[in-house]
Symmetry: C4
Subunit: 247 residues, 4 copies
Amino acid sequence: MHGTIRAKMKKVIESVWRANLKLNEAGLTPLTWGNASQIDRARGLIAIKPSGVTYEKIKKEDIVLTDTSGTIIASRLRPSSDLASHLALYHAFPSVGAVVHTHSAFATAFAQACLPVPCLGTTHADYSPCPIHVTDPMTPSQIRTDYERHTGEMIVKKIRQLKLVTTQCPFILAAQHGPFAWGKDAAEAVENAIVLEYLCKMAFVTYVMKGKLKSIPQVLIDKHFFRKHGIHAYYGQQKVKGRFKIS
Amino acid sequence: MHGTIRAKMKKVIESVWRANLKLNEAGLTPLTWGNASQIDRARGLIAIKPSGVTYEKIKKEDIVLTDTSGTIIASRLRPSSDLASHLALYHAFPSVGAVVHTHSAFATAFAQACLPVPCLGTTHADYSPCPIHVTDPMTPSQIRTDYERHTGEMIVKKIRQLKLVTTQCPFILAAQHGPFAWGKDAAEAVENAIVLEYLCKMAFVTYVMKGKLKSIPQVLIDKHFFRKHGIHAYYGQQKVKGRFKIS
Amino acid sequence: MHGTIRAKMKKVIESVWRANLKLNEAGLTPLTWGNASQIDRARGLIAIKPSGVTYEKIKKEDIVLTDTSGTIIASRLRPSSDLASHLALYHAFPSVGAVVHTHSAFATAFAQACLPVPCLGTTHADYSPCPIHVTDPMTPSQIRTDYERHTGEMIVKKIRQLKLVTTQCPFILAAQHGPFAWGKDAAEAVENAIVLEYLCKMAFVTYVMKGKLKSIPQVLIDKHFFRKHGIHAYYGQQKVKGRFKIS
Amino acid sequence: MHGTIRAKMKKVIESVWRANLKLNEAGLTPLTWGNASQIDRARGLIAIKPSGVTYEKIKKEDIVLTDTSGTIIASRLRPSSDLASHLALYHAFPSVGAVVHTHSAFATAFAQACLPVPCLGTTHADYSPCPIHVTDPMTPSQIRTDYERHTGEMIVKKIRQLKLVTTQCPFILAAQHGPFAWGKDAAEAVENAIVLEYLCKMAFVTYVMKGKLKSIPQVLIDKHFFRKHGIHAYYGQQKVKGRFKIS
């Protein structure tokens, strides 16, 4: 029976497996840090990296399946200890199809500094018209009990509070902790995690040279974001119908 | 007929294809960012990277041909969305044979900071006797309509305003956006893009250590530039007759 | 007889050999710098890198065995000149099973600046609930006589003075010199050396962006450290019984 | 006859060829920048990199031989345009057996900032008991005529002025230009060039964190330098008889 479920989830498992390899290849996740997951909303199943396994050793069979409450299904390993953070995002936002968490160096340093990054240039605007936001710090009781769930919920809270749309705000920094990114599938979530790290690296250099972090004009942000995303997009090879369909 | 045109443009297509691979290999263009093109002025044709295609997947057949108005010729994919920026440079400067645009980290950060870089050392002078200039920011209407063409025209405007010669000023930073470089062919344009990123990285370290960005003396700039370029050049293996003939 | 002893120590020799390769692969030890050792407490023997040998050339046969006084046993090469520093740690702390010393760039720079690093984020807390401490500078007479032994003893002194537990404080910076890390075996000591370098790199960026180095709350430190270490750990695949059993 | 001379110089040619490959591999010389040479004092011949040739394409046959006046001998390519700088060092210092010049990023940035680097830690002291010095800027007439020879002579002048011994001071920064390193043979000169870049990178981080560049005590410098160099050295595998015999 395990075999049947895993067979049905073959594509999602492979997508998550590839995403985890890609994360490591891109240098975002030293050692066993970080994790990627993807949800199959029709089946109510999530595929996620196993906890504490070295990237070069992860096989497709190691990818863990759980239901949307986090119960392990048809898997022999334990899921990433950050599963509950991913679940909070899946529960809150139907458009989130995959979640990635890393400790990539520059993004984590900005999370440590609790410093949001405005849109400093068109590289940022190509991926998001919003700043890189930072969640509020958690209370001691949120940390002590259900810490991973609360980590996810602080992200949800910040996105709701600012009335952000997750397809337009594809990443955030968890205060004192590190970056989270998402997308329609694991490949897109990984791409957003790569972009987030790159934007923070450039923000660092920009800040050192300029002494401040100042947003570019809204009209330029909109131009770049909407030439790549949404119904008027003209970047890439395929007709773009919905938001975030980047070819 | 498509085959005939592409056969005639074989060398230029291959030059552009190699340049795009090299850009990625040099780490200047994460993901699908950046693009290289080359013009065949005799034929009035331009070869350019297709839009939104991953570097490791680009084949020679994917390189797009257009005429000098930007109309696609004998190609199955859409050209880079930055084509109009490249065209503006080809139209304005007969000596520009190829154009490269990247989002390389340090150069983009300087473009975000809108910070020109004077000639800080002989590494810079070996490639250009001019500072790395930054274009003026665009007006909202320039951004809203024909944005990519205006991006190129702001570069043209800055070069003309400062009476620069494109063979002596082989790169520029588009304000709030990122670096552009050019050369007699795509290989040279890529080399200039690599140099630009390297100069910005060193300018960053120099600025942190010195607290300012100060040009070296003109006599030293001239010595280095003209030992490599122009009729009195003595660097490299081949007789140098025209400017920018680096062996 | 040499063969017999080395045969019995085969696993430890292999562990040290792999650790030295890994150190170099991780970019922590340019040229011939740095060294890793591991102790077999039952046999009273230590396996350590030979002095001044290039990493790519080290063979298992080159790994040097010594007794706990530092006398060479069944080996044809001289041990690392830092052996006496390792011995001081093995003598003082029964829980230290392996020691690693590197000149990794960011950690060494913090050692040069004599700057301790508080726990700035959860990446740090995942590995240690303590700051990265710096030893006191040595006196001229400590430097002149038995310098390497004194280097180790200054580490021991600092750990005792602060009443630290070596399984909770797996690394330190030797003032004006560079980083030392340890663990239950050479693989774990190398992992801690990698983490130490990464934490210092992120501390550098955090400091530049924030203007200070400020610890995260103790409750968050404890949460992260104890979900990975100790009897209540729930990170990784294996039952965690003792401290520092990371799967 | 060409063949005979090159056959006699086979080992030196190979040493220079390997050194140039290693320079590039170590990331110190982007594109065609930088060069390494070695002198055979008995034969009065120098082997040096050809000018403007890409590193991955250099073959042993391309290495240029010259006599000590710089006249090309038994070679088909032109020597590096920096040959005269190398010659100045060979003429002044009998103990210099090889010279390396690079544009490695951090060392070049310090040369651009005209900033000497005191001995900030033991990594530096392991290679030199002296600061990293910077030459004085050249006069316009020195730049205009025999520029490369004057570049070398400004290095000689600085070393003599400070009464430095070239075996103890294995590198320097040419003001507004970049780093030079030397050694008994090309391999050692390359090692010193790698160390110089690494020291400047760490000096950058140390300066940012500490706000100043301050030397460690002389007693610690001497301890580290003389445990590796000179008659009392005890680092490495071989008996050390002369200075700079690092095994």
